[in-house]
């Protein structure tokens, strides 16, 4: 793959994601103030000592934004990747095996989807201990029902193709059929779904934080910061918009990269010459 073949839009996306990752990894070194350090007045305006101003408790918004990148990206990304691995694996097994296994997985999936996601998450998170990995796992499992739905639909279309039949006739095992025959032919729609699901994960995380079951204060996360500062909007203070914009920009950057990947994978000529 040549670097020149990557279009400008994808470069913008890559740059945005790189910046966010850089902030997340080196947060303690680049943040001007501590994560929960109260350094000034409540809702100080932009400029001066504080580039983005301060929040509802007088903490530096920029520092919290940088620290928040850590939790937000880590949790959302981990949950999305996990939900995709789980959803795709189960859906492909169901599509390839068919029969009883398919029925079992699909009906169980319907059962899960029948319960409102937020209420389900609230109940489970309220009962279980408040730890980060449990939060990620619950988000991943709830999200994987959606991935399962789309994954099974896409895989079924491919599973009836003659080249899959040819692989079966050759005597290939289920693993080969799933990973070598079906997966490469279903990547495009699944990648598109990945971009969307990641954005939803960030939003879901902030919803949970808002309800007190996501990231626990005083740790910063972008969704929680929107919540903390939302009352300021009434008084014309824009502090809540800054973490909101960060969420939007990261989502756009991810989708720019995903769009490019999707074009590459949807080309049947190995992605060569596709810009």
């Amino acid at each position: 793959m040549r670097l020149r073949a990557i279009p400008l839009s994808a470069w913008i996306g890559i740059a945005g994601i790189a910046l966010a990752l850089f902030c997340a990894i080196f947060a303690p070194f680049i943040a001007p103030y501590g994560e929960s350090e109260i350094v000034g007045d409540i809702w100080a305006p932009m400029g001066g000592d504080f580039l983005f101003g301060t929040d509802n408790l007088g903490r530096d918004l920029l520092s919290r934004l940088i620290y928040g990148a850590r939790t937000t990206i880590f949790v959302a990304l981990a949950a999305t990747i996990l939900s995709f691995s789980l959803g795709m694996l189960l859906s492909f097994v169901a599509a390839v095996t068919g029969g009883f296994v398919d029925q079992l997985f699909s009906r169980f999936n319907d059962l899960m989807m029948a319960i409102p996601t937020l209420i389900f998450a609230l109940v489970v998170l309220a009962v279980l201990p408040q730890q980060l990995w449990i939060l990620i796992l619950v988000m991943a499992i709830l999200d994987s029902t959606r991935v399962y739905r789309i994954g099974r639909a896409v895989a079924l279309d491919v599973a009836v193709m003659e080249f899959v039949e040819a692989a079966r006739l050759r005597g290939e095992g289920t693993g080969w059929i799933i990973f070598r025959e079906i997966l490469p032919n279903t990547l495009s729609p699944l990648l598109a779904e990945f971009g969307l699901r990641f954005a939803f994960s960030i939003l879901f995380l902030s919803t949970l934080s808002f309800l007190g079951l996501g990231i626990q204060p005083p740790a910063a996360d972008w969704g929680g910061m929107v919540k903390d500062n939302k009352d300021g909007i009434i008084f014309g203070i824009s502090a809540a918009l800054i973490p909101g914009a960060a969420i939007a920009l990261l989502t756009i950057c991810i989708n720019l990269v995903v769009d490019w990947l999707m074009k590459r994978t949807s080309s049947l000529k190995g992605g060569r010459g596709d810009a």
Binding site: A5, E162, R168, R170, E181, N185, S267, G270, G273, A275
Partner: protein, 548 residues
């Protein structure tokens, strides 16, 4: 350029058609699809447009309606209908012509009818909308046309929905729809290509009878020269959007002047003697009865056998159970009764019970090479996988063997890293053959491997299969509906009809009299490259309209 005469209904002059293609990563390109095409259709006469896929025959046919399919633009020339240039008409003017003066019959009638409306309504719709006749007149004309086209129960035929009639009847209903507004010209776009041979002949006869009866001129588009010879007065041979030869049927069939036309006329020249030794049996199918879970038996009590190194052709119409038989032999569909014996040992009925060695010895080639190969794998991986899977080959050894196989299918190593989308239809089928060969099989099941290909390409594939059989002594079970292919390559023949074996034996016996009724019908339905063949056959054979 020929002068336009008074009797010409349609004159096409210097036609140029272009389209814009968008190759990924490059600026859009303008592609010329058709260039420099001239022809005339006289009143009441039929012209045949013939050529392989991509020759531009449908595109040219549609210009008679001043229509270009998605993205196709008519950029030059004239299309004169009764002296009026259709290309200069505005939108409203064109609408007056379409469906009134010029009508269209599509290849797939099943897709062209609206399944939610009754046939009768759809047949008279255009006439009513154009105000050509009132409802009573239109219904009367539709009834007359149903009779002329030999449709069963013409009085009530219009009451039916499209799914309630057969494919052959639907195609005739579509012809009735085109004829109903009393047009001056009809464009037939491969109207019989999707039909079985025994049905095709009825539809052909009906179309021919109807256009003679109504004195309508027609443009008949097909890739089958034998069909076009039966129905048209003139033939225009096309290739890559250019005219190859234009003349009367007699001249084209009997004295073609161009090499390409000559190749088309003589395309069915492949052939060989049948093997006589029937002793060394490789595959034996005994009393197979098979069906799907709804209880319908697709195969009933089928028994046949195939000697080593020979070819068994399975012939029959769609729905006769040919492909199901292949599924039973591969183990994809375990039979309800009966056994499959391979090289003296019984094969486990289900795929799951078979060992890799048993799977290796039976390989399969599919009709559609497009869907039979993973579009995400290169030729190297497609052909190389059986080598790794069955023989544990890796690295250089594997690459060497893939190269050898590519040489065997006459393609060469420059194709190693291509994806299927970068191959032509014939090349794809060759790669599929190489994949089958890679397993060093004793038997290859060929499920209509040439029926989706153009005649000249198909002939190349058949020759290749014969050559490979000589080199490797592989046996073929060749499923087809084309008697010409059977004549060309088979040693023994099995004729199937509605899930039963009608006739089985050496080719010379099966294809020579005395015949049973079905084999007789089948053999007589295959169009021959001979003018007047249709009339001759129809005399000896009653119309089987009711059944088709």
């Amino acid at each position: 350029m020929p002068e336009r005469s008074k009797t010409d209904l349609l004159s096409v002059r210097n036609l140029k058609i272009e389209a814009t293609s968008y190759p990924p990563g490059e600026p859009p390109k303008t592609v010329t699809l058709v260039e420099g095409v001239n022809f005339d259709v006289k009143k009441g006469k039929v012209i045949g447009l013939i050529g392989e896929s991509g020759a531009g025959k449908s595109t040219i046919g549609l210009t008679a309606l001043a229509y270009g399919r998605g993205g196709v633009r008519i950029t030059g020339g004239e299309v004169l209908l009764d002296g009026q240039d259709l290309l200069k008409l505005d939108h409203a003017g064109i609408r007056k012509v379409r469906g009134a003066k010029v009508c269209y019959v599509a290849q797939s009638a099943a897709a062209a009818f609206n399944p939610a409306h009754r046939l009768g309504e759809q047949v008279i719709e255009a006439s009513l909308r154009h105000g050509i006749m009132n409802r009573a007149e239109a219904e009367k004309r539709a009834l007359h046309l149903f009779e002329v086209l030999g449709l069963p129960n013409p009085e009530t035929f219009g009451q039916r929905y499209p799914h309630q009639v057969s494919g052959g009847q639907l195609q005739r209903a579509m012809t009735a729809m085109a004829l109903c507004p009393n047009p001056e010209l009809i464009v037939f776009d491969e109207p019989t290509t999707a039909l079985d041979v025994t049905t095709q002949i009825d539809v052909l006869a009906a179309i021919k009878h109807a256009i003679e009866e109504t004195h309508t001129a027609a443009i008949y588009i097909t890739h089958d020269l034998a069909v076009v010879a039966q129905i048209t007065d003139d033939i225009l041979v096309l290739r890559h959007g250019k005219m190859v030869e234009y003349g009367t049927v007699k001249q084209i069939i009997e004295a073609p002047t161009q090499d390409y036309t000559r190749a088309l006329v003589n395309v069915r020249g492949t052939g060989r003697e049948e093997a006589t030794d029937q002793s060394d049996t490789l595959l034996k199918v005994e009393n197979i009865t098979a069906g799907y879970s709804n209880g319908f038996k697709v195969l009933q009590n089928v028994s046949l056998h195939l000697p080593k190194g020979q070819t068994l052709a399975i012939v029959g119409e769609s729905g006769s159970g040919k492909s199901t038989l292949a599924r039973v032999i591969t183990g994809l569909l375990p039979p309800q009764e009966g056994t499959v014996t391979f090289d003296g040992k019984p094969l486990p009925p289900a795929l799951r019970g078979r060992k890799n060695e048993e799977l290796r010895r039976i390989q399969m080639i599919y009709q559609m090479a497009d869907t039979a190969m993973n579009p995400r794998q290169t030729v190297r991986n497609i052909v190389g996988r059986p080598l790794t899977f069955y023989f544990g080959m890796h690295g250089r050894q594997k690459t060497e063997r893939v190269r050898e196989l590519l040489d065997q299918i006459e393609m060469g190593e420059r194709f190693l890293d291509r994806y299927p989308a970068e191959l032509s239809g014939g090349q794809k089928q060759r790669v599929a053959i190489a994949r089958a060969l890679a397993a060093k099989p004793d038997l290859i099941l060929c499920d209509e491997p040439t029926s989706a290909l153009d005649p000249l390409v198909a002939e190349g594939i058949l020759k290749l299969l014969l050559k490979l059989q000589e080199e490797t002594h592989v046996s073929y079970m060749f499923i087809t509906h084309d008697i010409a292919i059977v004549r060309a390559i088979a040693d023994s023949v099995a004729v199937m009809h509605r899930g039963r074996l009608v006739r089985f034996g050496p080719k010379s016996k099966v294809l020579s009299p005395p015949f049973d009724d079905y084999t007789d019908l089948l053999l007589k339905s295959v169009p021959e490259m001979e003018i007047g063949w249709l009339e001759k056959v129809l005399k000896t054979r009653r119309m089987e309209s009711a059944g088709n």
